[in-house]
Amino acid sequence: MIWLLALQLSVPPQQQHYDNAEADLAKMQFGPADEEVDSALRLDPNFIPALVLKARLALFAHRPDIAKSCLIKAVIVDPSSENAQFFLGMFYYLQNDFTLGITPLEKARALSPKAPLPPFYLAMSKEAMGDASSALRFYQEAEALSPEKTPQTAAILVAHGRLLYSLGKFEESIAKDQLAIEADNQSRDAFYERAKGLEHQSKYEAAAADGERALTLPELGTSDSQIHFLLGNIYLKLNKPDLAAAHLAKFRAAPQTTQR
């Protein structure tokens, strides 16, 4: 008992605040979580886990400026932190600063060669920069490192399939989407992408079924209006003008936004 108490007392206070922040976050108490992170950073301004967590909270709250400064500080304080390097690379990717993201993602990949996310974000960054061959290589690497049937695996497969679709490799693209659905049957993106592929192969009934299924899934990513637009076109080809008109009307009524 005394030993346990001593162990508890040995937890540094900044770590205690960080643990509290994690606990608050798990309960969706974002404000208190942020306060706890700040308390940890007041005690130790270079505490890497707290800097990374603060950056992630800031990203959620649409404050990329804060996220960026925390992550840059984290990689300066500890360049060997795989987490800090990866999140900085991911941050740049989310901000469309693909070139800036490559270096930290490469460092994260080198620091943790078994992790699938650094090559995944490298693949998406390379794809965005127009380097399809590098992107395909990184997608394959990410896929190989993520054999489990999880939403993460599904996201890697969907992104890979999307690139194959844009390269005109429709069979391979649909195969990736199929694997993605097997990995996560709640993946809205996977059903939407497979619907696109099936439409391209003139398999309109199956494409419509996938599109309708995608509409019922809550996952973020593909927007309702994207799916309505696709379904509108598919139903036109199926000679179902009423259904097509209904979906296209919903597409037109949806708020047009540049934010996904």
Binding site: M28, M90, P218
Partner: protein
């Protein structure tokens, strides 16, 4: 510059954990479809005024000022003798002001695709689910790249008849909170609850007794915090006794068939026989804004002087009152009201649903003739059923708004100041 999450902390779950007056005020200001700011609740609530301090009461039951439920019997006791009124009242918005959750009481859809509220935050959405265990709202937050956290709370109470919308509450022990997603009737879809900024997962808005004073018939309060209640004491909906006072004596006497002796004061409040001011007080409890409490919630009883329980804003006639929950002040500032003996019940029959706006015109025409209307010369008898739309136009509430899709939704509420409005003031 403060961090955004710090700025949002009051709405991110700290309202109860770290209570602050402004947080509670801001929440109450936009809670439901009837409620507005109530800062005074944050201070100590004084005891109910002693009966001796009250103005004369028209009945023995009126204005007892005691929040005990000893004399109350519930709607069922009224049904036997007042069957016709009872049946129509069951469909009224007052009766449906609060209910337990069920397939019929919740108007929002739970079918896949219709059960999702997406937000302006690309990392957050809400899902409404109906399961064998009950009805639930879940907030799902996605942290890039692949971390998901979610929080699920049950629909425990349904607030609102659904005419404009419904807000939902949940219990955490004996503390009551607002759920983050509301149903909005006009668009037939889920929307952020009043007071919740779009794009944030928040389940921690406390519900205080003044909210429930108008959305339920009764619930007993527990020691602070102010959103703690005795769940077992809850009487949902606005029931007969909210306007008629406690009915036990009345029921006992009538079941015993003991007639009132000549000169004996009745043992139940009949609002129609109250003085005009006392009649208006019955409605003003909930239709004149939140006011400043002078006594605990639920201590006012029909027939009493409301001013001894609640201090209400007294809008000058030329002050444009907000149309939400200030109907009594608006009506009181009308020439029709000031030059007649009309009350709310001149037009409203609270014992039944009244949805046909045009039909209210017949009440106007008991005093006015259509020939006296300035529009009669051009429109003729077509204006016969349009009195209300022109002289009591719909107006957007400035106190209730819901954030969604980067804009605010404001309900349209009937302006109760009866007047001649300019063309630019009409919807």
């Amino acid at each position: 510059m403060k961090h955004p999450l710090r700025l949002l902390a009051p709405t991110l779950g700290s309202a109860v954990r770290r209570p602050g007056p402004q947080k509670v005020i801001r929440f109450v200001a936009i809670l439901g479809l009837l409620l507005v700011p109530v800062q005074p609740f944050l201070g100590q609530i004084p005891d109910a005024p002693a009966p001796a301090h009250r103005a004369s009461q028209s009945t023995a039951a009126a204005g007892s000022g005691v929040s005990s439920r000893d004399g109350y019997v519930g709607d069922e006791a009224c049904q036997g003798c007042h069957q016709e009124k009872f049946e129509t009242y069951l469909r009224s918005a007052h009766h449906l002001a609060s209910r337990l959750p069920s397939r019929t009481s919740i108007n929002g859809k739970f079918t896949p695709g219709s059960n999702i509220l997406r937000t302006s935050n690309p990392y957050l959405y809400f899902v409404m689910t109906a399961t064998k265990e009950g009805y639930f709202q879940s907030a799902v937050a996605k942290f890039p790249p692949f971390e998901t956290i979610s929080r699920k709370e049950p629909f425990d109470l349904v607030i609102g008849s659904g005419r404009k919308g419904q807000t939902y509450l949940y219990w955490k022990g004996d503390a009551l909170f607002e759920l983050p997603v509301t149903y909005w009737t006009e668009t037939d879809r889920w929307i952020n609850s009043p007071g919740y900024p779009d794009g944030l997962p928040n389940f921690d808005k406390p519900i205080i007794s003044r909210c429930l004073e108008c959305h339920t018939t009764y619930i007993g309060s527990l020691p602070p915090p102010l959103n703690r209640f005795d769940r077992s004491s809850m009487v949902l909906g606005i029931t007969c006794e909210k306007c008629h006072g406690p009915g036990r004596k009345h029921v006992v006497r009538n079941r015993s068939k003991i007639p009132l002796r000549p000169g004996e004061v009745g043992d139940i409040v009949n609002p129609a026989s109250l003085s005009r001011d006392r009649q208006m007080d019955v409605c003003a409890l909930c239709h004149a804004g939140p006011g400043t409490p002078k006594a605990p919630a639920f201590s006012f009883v029909a027939g009493g002087v409301l001013g001894q329980f609640l201090s209400l804003p007294d809008n000058a006639p030329d002050t444009p009152a907000d149309v939400h929950a200030h109907q009594v002040q608006q009506l009181s500032s009308s020439r029709c009201f000031r030059s007649s003996s009309m009350t709310c019940t001149t037009c409203h029959d609270v014992h039944k649903p009244q949805r046909d706006v045009a039909s209210f015109s017949e009440h106007c025409l008991t005093c006015h003739s259509i020939e006296s209307c300035g529009r009669y010369s051009t429109m003729g008898s077509k204006i016969l059923r349009d009195c209300v739309n022109c002289h009591m136009p719909l107006k957007q509430s400035n106190q209730i708004f819901l954030d969604t899709d980067d804009r605010q939704v404001k309900p349209q509420v009937r302006n109760h100041r009866i007047a001649i409005y300019g063309q630019n003031e009409l919807p």
